[in-house]
Structure formats: C-alpha cells, structure tokens
C-alpha cells in the first residue's frame, strides 16, 4: 500500500442529539476528515466538542444524520459495528471481567471462528507485543491499570483492523505511566503500520504522538495540521489557546511613531513586526518561551512590556514567572531555572519583559471558528 492511500474518510458528518433541556445539540456539525495509510491522527478538543461522537460514528455505535463514513473505500452507512474493519480501545478499557487475559485478547478471533492453534499463536504474539507474555491466565481484576491498558490494546489489534480507534485510553493512568504508554503506542503504531485515530483532550498527548492533529470545537474542525503547525501557526484564537501555553491579546493594529503596534481595548500597546497590516483587528499570542527579561540597551527588534511579578513556579528545567500586566491580564514567562541571573527576581518586582517583534503570531480576526 502506498503512503498516500486513504484508509478512512469522513464526509460532511452531521449528528445531533436531543438535549435534556429540549431542542437539539449538534455534536458533529459538518465534519470532513481523511486518514491516510499509516498515519497517527489525533482528535483533540475540549469535552463536549464532538470528538468521541465522531469516533463512535466511525466504529458504528452511532449513525450519522447526514454525511458518510468510508473505510478502505467502502461506505459504512448501516453497517453494524461488528462488520466494520475497525477496532476500538475503550476509555475504561471495557475488558470482559469474566474472561481471562487470554480469552479477552482472543475474543475477536473466537467470535470469528479462527482455528485453535492459529488463534493461540496470534494471542501469544499480541500479548508478546504489548509485553504481557505469561499473564494469559489472569483475570482483568488481577492486573494493574497499565496492564489492563495493554490487554485492551492487544485485544483491539488482534483482528488486524484497518484503523484502530482509541478513545482517551490513557486518561486513567498516572502521569509517568501515561508518558511511557505514549511512546509505546507510537512505536506500536510504527511497527504495525495500522492507522491510529486517537481521541484526547490532553494537548500534550496529542503533540507527542501524532502525525496529524485535528482540533475540534463545538462539532466543527478548527484546524488540521501537524503538531508543529498547530503550535507555531494556529489558525484561530481557539487553537492558539488550546494548544500550548500562552496569553492572547486582541486589538487593532495602529501605527505609533512609524512602527506598527497592537492596541488593545484596555490600553495595552504591543509592538509588532514591520509586516503587520495597519487597520486590521488581530490577536497576538505570546508563549512563555517567547519572553525574556529585556536587556538594558535599546533593541529595535524587541517588543517591551511592563509587568509585576505575581508568582514564580518551579518546573525543573524552567521556572515559570507569572506576571500581571498593566491591564490586569496575566502573562507567563518561562526562564531557565538554572540561570543564577534570575535568582534576584522576587514577587512584587517590576519587570521589563521583551519578546521578538517579528516572531509573535498574528492571527487575522475573521468571524468565529473559521
């Protein structure tokens, strides 16, 4: 199969649910998506954005109101879940409590009547792959959270699906285990060459593992792109806010002493690069790593902000300084924690912060969400 083959395709997906307070809620509002062979795609969004619904329409547990799902070119409308060439790793793992690990993993083969020795061979292979050889006779309640996660994974890959759907599978694990599993998932996906469609609300998870991230909000796609694109070129304020840390400033671009600045409604003045188009409404995103303490000598390439240090938080390699600007907004500055030059800074200090004028992200304001 060539790299460019489309494995799964969603076209114009619309799905509404009856809201408890009456009326309808559009969980999916015209979503189109294409997953290519061997890709690790992540659906990222806040809870209620429709990402789980999208996953469930692909696995077949929900039918679309409009639009269609195609897997390997075949239209999936009215195809029940057990006839779709996709498998799911469920959020709570959904391991069968009455079956051993062996029988859980082998379930997909048992229901399709695969011969005994072929089945045993593939079960062992799958358990081996997730590092659980020798655990076959245990029951799910005799396993740790991470082990259950691996069983769920082994169970889902044993049918060799065209597409593996993962519904927030790491959310129940503790931080260390989650990071280990992130790397393992990624390498498992490389080994198997199966497409992964991964749902999460954790942007760090999305950035770590994905080839492609789809950001959903209110049933619509905000932006599709590689993790780098989303981080460095967010298409909308929502994406800028959702991916990575940073503060957003919205205002009009004006000229002050022949240099463009962003004037916010509450009186902040943020210098911009030369190519900023005067007269437009724009949003500036300042990420913690963009900001430094301003040097003593004047530097034309830097934008300067005055702020008061409210709090500093130690994060290992870096220390986050949370500063309050004159308009009351908070701004986080990440500085090298090992640099002794910053040791003098204490809470309440007036700081002069600098960011590269031409580097910050400028997002042309145009409607909401498109």
């Amino acid at each position: 199969m060539r790299q460019t083959d489309t494995i799964a395709e969603v076209k114009g997906a619309v799905k509404s649910f009856a809201a408890p307070e009456g009326g309808k809620v559009r969980a999916l509002d015209g979503i189109s998506l294409e997953i290519l062979h061997g890709q690790f795609v992540t659906l990222l969004g806040p809870s209620g954005c429709g990402k789980t619904t999208l996953l469930r329409t692909i696995s077949g547990f929900e039918e679309l109101d409009a639009g269609e799902v195609r897997i390997a070119g075949v239209k999936m409308t009215n195809v029940p879940p057990h006839r779709r060439p996709v498998n799911t790793v469920f959020q709570n793992y959904a391991l069968f409590p009455h079956l051993s690990v062996d029988d859980n993993v082998g379930y997909g083969l048992d229901v399709s009547g695969v011969a005994r020795n072929e089945r045993d061979r593939r079960v062992n292979e799958a358990l081996d792959r997730v590092g659980l050889s020798g655990f076959g006779l245990r029951k799910p309640d005799q396993l740790s959270g991470g082990q259950r996660q691996r069983v769920a994974l082994a169970r889902a890959i044993i049918n060799r699906p065209k597409l593996l759907l993962l519904d927030e599978p790491l959310s129940a694990l503790d931080r260390n285990l989650r990071q280990t599993m992130q790397l393992e998932l990624k390498s498992l996906q490389n080994d198997l060459g199966i497409c992964f469609l991964f749902v999460t609300h954790d942007q760090e998870e999305a950035l770590t593992m994905s080839d492609l991230v789809v950001i959903l909000n209110k049933g619509q796609i905000e932006q599709t792109g590689t993790p780098e694109e989303l981080y460095h070129q967010p298409a909308t304020p929502f994406v800028a806010e959702f991916v990575g840390d940073g503060s957003l400033f919205t205002g009009r671009i004006e000229n002050t002493s022949d240099r463009p600045v962003l004037k916010t409604n509450d009186g902040l003045c943020l210098p911009l690069g030369r190519d900023a188009r005067v007269g437009e409404t724009a949003t500036l995103l300042l990420r913690p790593e963009h900001l430094r303490l301003a040097p003593d000598q004047n530097d034309e390439s830097l934008g300067i902000l005055e702020a008061t240090l409210e709090q500093s938080v130690f994060h290992g390699a870096i220390r986050n300084y949370i500063c309050r600007l004159s308009n009351g907004a908070l701004l986080t500055v990440a500085l090298d924690a090992s640099d002794t030059a910053y040791k003098r800074i204490t809470t309440g200090d007036q700081l002069r912060l600098a960011y590269p004028r031409n580097l910050p992200y400028l997002i042309k304001q145009s409607g909401n969400g498109t």
């Binding site: 547990f61 057990h82 006839r83 799911t88 959904a94 069968f96 409590p97």
Partner: protein
C-alpha cells in the same frame, strides 16, 4: 481480658438484633424441629414423648399399628419439586427478555415499567388468584374469548389442573425472578456489549458470551427466590388446583389445620427444609464452579 472493649461494645450493640432474631426467627424453627419428634395429641397439640414415626410415615418405616408409611407423600413432594422447577424455567424465560427490553427503554419509562411489574403486590394474593379462577374456569374470560373468536369449539377445561397451578404460580412469583435479573442486567456495563460488537461479535454471540454470563448471578438469585416459595406454596394449588393438584404446602397446611397432627406437619416441614437446603447448597456450589471455569 482478651475480649477487648471494642468487641464487647460490638456484641452489646448487636444484642437487640440477635435477641429479636433468636426469639422470633430461630425460636419457631426450634419448636418445629422439637415437635416433629413428639407424639401427636388426640385433639391437636403434642404429647411430650419421643416419637420417630412421623418421619417413618414420610421416609419409609412404620410400626404397622398406628402410623403407616405412605409413598403418596413422596409422590406429592416430587410433584411439588417438579412444579417449582418448571415454574423457575417459565418465569426465567419470561423475565430475562423482559429485563433486557426494560433496560433498553428511556430512563423515565424504565422506572414506570418496573413499578407496574411490582404493582400486583399491592393487591391481596387471594383476590388476585380468584381473578385467575374467573379467567380460567370453563365459563371464564379466556374460554369466552377463545370461543367467541372461533379458535376453539369446546371450552378448555384448564382450571383445577396442574397447568392452572403453573400459570398461577408463575404469575405470583414473576416479580421475584424479574427484579434480581433486572438488577444485574441494569448493572451490566454497556461498554462490554459494545466491545464485543466492536471485536466482531454478532448480537447472538454477544448475548451468549458476554451478557448472559455476566448476568448469571441475577438469574441464580431469581431462581432461588422463585424455587423456594413455589415449593412451599399452598394458596395457588388450593385455589387453582382444587383437590386434584395437591402440593407439599397443602399437605402441611392440612396437617396443622384439618388433621390437627402438628408433629407430622412439623416432620413434613423439616423434611422439605432439609431437602431444599441440600438442593440449594448443591446449586450454589455448581454455580461457583461455573463461574470459576469461565
């Protein structure tokens, strides 16, 4: 002292419940066991002499003078067990699909349906069974409807047969099967059903591999809750079975109220109890083994 204050206060706190149960639950049971070994009084009551012929009449030894072994008791007992067993099967076949159906309803309907199923409890059992007499008798509703529709030409004589007893019994004990099954069906994690379906299991495979094994505890509880009252029931066979379908419960009732042979009635009750206990212990053991084997 070895008995620390915690244990002592615990015992003290438990004592009201223990005394209550001791007097009102264990007490009658002990009296029954004692009576079953005493000689029947001439006009009811007991004579305080040890007397084992009560059991002899049931189990097969007799003095050949006053008390005689009669195999009819064993036959009645076997019939009771058979009726109780069939009743378990019938109620199970009705209740399991119903429980699945109710569980699939929207939540506000679910509560309503469960309420409706338990509604008959609010009406006296005797009244409800008389309604069944009205329905089942030759000139009753069932026959007039079937005759009116031309489905049958002669009234079906169903009242005072074992079938009528089975219908009544199933009706009376339906909720005892339904509620435990419904509780376990409702508790079943729906994502397990979805997982099975996701892995390629069709609806039938999903039912037999996932749903049924995981709701088996409810089935087991329902089976016991239906079997025991079925076996001991005497009102249903009395009203719907007439004199023809005598069950063990009727026999006990007769001994106490008509024949005034308390010791023999007690001996019958103790025998039923022991047989039932044995059956249930065997059943639970088997169930446990099934669960382990899964």
């Amino acid at each position: 002292m070895a008995l620390n204050s915690r244990t002592r206060s615990l015992l003290l706190l438990l004592s009201p419940a223990s005394i209550f149960l001791g007097i009102f639950f264990l007490g009658p049971l002990i009296i029954m066991v004692i009576f079953s070994f005493l000689e029947p009084g001439l006009y009811g009551g007991v004579e305080w002499n040890f007397y084992h012929w009560n059991y002899g009449r049931i189990l097969g030894w007799a003095d050949g003078e006053w008390e005689e072994f009669d195999p009819v008791y064993a036959a009645i007992f076997l019939r009771s067990v058979r009726i109780a067993f069939i009743n378990v099967i019938v109620t199970l076949l009705i209740c399991y699909p119903t429980a699945l159906w109710v569980n699939g309803l929207p939540s506000r309907w679910r509560t309503l349906v469960v309420f409706i199923i338990t509604l008959p409890f609010f009406v006296s059992l005797v009244v409800r069974l008389f309604c069944w007499v009205l329905i089942l008798r030759p000139s009753g509703f069932m026959n007039s409807i079937l005759l009116g529709l031309g489905i049958i030409s002669e009234p079906i004589d169903i009242i005072f047969t074992e079938t009528a007893v089975l219908i009544g019994m199933a009706y009376v004990l339906l909720p005892f099967m339904f509620l435990p099954i419904y509780a376990s069906v409702e508790k079943l994690d729906h994502s397990l059903v979805e997982a099975s379906s996701d892995l390629g299991g069709g609806p039938i495979q999903t039912f037999f591999r996932i749903t049924l094994p995981l709701t088996l505890p409810g089935v087991a509880a329902g089976a016991i809750l239906v079997f025991i009252p079925s076996l001991g029931n005497f009102i249903v066979p009395d009203l719907l079975g007439g004199a023809k379908v005598l069950m063990i419960g009727n026999l006990v009732e007769q001994q106490f109220l008509s024949a005034r042979n308390w010791p023999f009635g007690s001996a019958l009750s103790v025998t039923i109890m022991l047989v039932m206990l044995t059956l249930i212990i065997l059943y639970l053991r088997r169930l446990k083994r099934m669960e382990i084997n899964q």
